[in-house]
């Protein structure tokens, strides 16, 4: 008898806790309270995405994920998104690749995606292959020597910088985060800022392909 009350109370407390704690996905992600802005909008100027007039895309002669020589000219006839990133990038790079994939799917246009690493020290062609195979999206991944990557980045006006390594030897890369759209004739049509909505990427892709 002396134990019944404490256990009833325990059950009641546990039930109450559960009611307070659960709610799962049914809870709206955006509450009615004021949101604290925490996303950095693209700076003015970066939203100017059109190359007018279109100009020949810089060369991209590197090594693909199968270890074979690659030239951008081999993709003539298809629109191509070019993006410079790195495989250890957890946030911006996979977000961009997912955005491009969603836009290509929504547009229903057979556009290619070429991922160029700016971290060749870690991103060997084999590593890039494992990375792209995981996403299974048919993307092309390029790596090369430090000098080759530096040349490609310079030609494409891409900046990158390795950050300090932590105690496990992991280091982040700071880099420009635009993607570039090259049309089927090899002309550079647009650069697209990070976080661009799918609808904008779709419209850019349709315009560039005359669809």
């Amino acid at each position: 008898m002396p134990y019944r009350l404490p256990f009833s109370m325990l059950v009641a407390i546990a039930l109450l806790t559960s009611l307070l704690a659960t709610g799962c996905a049914s809870v709206p992600a955006v509450p009615s309270v004021q949101m604290v802005p925490n996303r950095t909008p693209p700076p003015i100027g970066v939203r100017d995405t059109v190359y007018n007039p279109p100009r020949p895309a810089p060369a991209l002669r590197l090594t693909d994920q199968d270890g074979k020589p690659f030239a951008l000219t081999s993709l003539r006839g298809s629109p191509v998104f070019v993006y410079f990133g790195y495989t250890h990038c957890p946030d911006v790079c996979p977000t961009t690749l997912a955005d491009l994939r969603a836009a290509i799917s929504a547009a229903g246009i057979d556009a290619k995606v070429v991922f160029v690493t700016i971290d060749p020290a870690r991103d060997t062609p084999a590593k890039v292959k494992q990375y792209l195979d995981f996403y299974a999206a048919g993307f092309i991944g390029l790596s090369g020597s430090d000098a080759d990557i530096a040349t490609a980045a310079k030609d494409w006006a891409v900046g990158y910088l390795a950050g300090p390594a932590d105690s496990n030897g992991n280091y982040p890369m700071t880099h420009t985060t635009e993607s570039y759209l090259v049309d089927g004739a090899g002309l550079l049509r647009n650069h697209i800022f990070f976080g661009a909505p799918t609808s904008l990427i779709v419209s850019i892709l349709r315009t560039a392909t005359g669809a």
């Binding site: 039930l15 809870v27 995981f134 030609d155 006006a157 990158y160």
Partner: protein
């Protein structure tokens, strides 16, 4: 004599189930802090890193702060912020950049030791902003998987939520 132990056993069993259920929920709360909408991006373990996102709401009258995180899915989980790095000069500033009349900004990640959640406010951890960086993934995070995240708050203590892995 036997009725009380049975009641105790039933009570204990219900309590265990209820507590386990509340610990495993994909939203969680403690005090005025409520965590909702947790998800992680699908990531290959070979790349070493993943990211998780969620919304933290503070309905209390006092500010709180997220000060740490952990997950069985990775060796460590750190709070990071993706932001424009003003001080970094693009190394490839020639080429098209000049012709465009603007130099593209560089974005990078910086570790943060605390994320303030103001009283009556909320903070969203989302792509291109604050996120939990999951370092040294134990296994691939594949779409449809569920991982557990434990968040440590300065005042509210620990809150554990489930995060669905999505390919988005």
């Amino acid at each position: 004599m036997y009725r009380i132990p049975k009641a105790r056993a039933l009570g204990a069993a219900v309590a265990v189930i209820v507590i386990a259920a509340s610990l495993a929920a994909c939203s969680g709360s403690s005090g005025g802090i409520k965590v909702t909408g947790a998800w992680a991006r699908n990531s290959a373990a070979v790349t070493g890193a993943g990211a998780a996102y969620l919304v933290i709401q503070n309905t209390g009258s006092e500010a709180d702060a997220l000060i740490g995180a952990s997950t069985p899915a990775a060796k460590t989980a750190e709070m990071h912020e993706t932001k424009v790095i003003e001080s970094a000069a693009p190394s490839g500033s020639g080429g098209m950049g000049g012709a465009m009349g603007s130099t593209s900004p560089m974005m990078g990640m910086v570790p943060v030791s605390r994320i303030e959640i103001p009283a009556g406010g909320s903070v969203e951890l989302k792509p291109g902003s604050y996120h939990l960086m999951l370092m040294s993934l134990v296994a691939d995070l594949s779409a449809g998987d569920t991982i557990e995240l434990t968040l440590q708050f300065e005042k509210a203590g620990k809150i554990t939520v489930k995060a669905e892995v999505r390919a988005q």
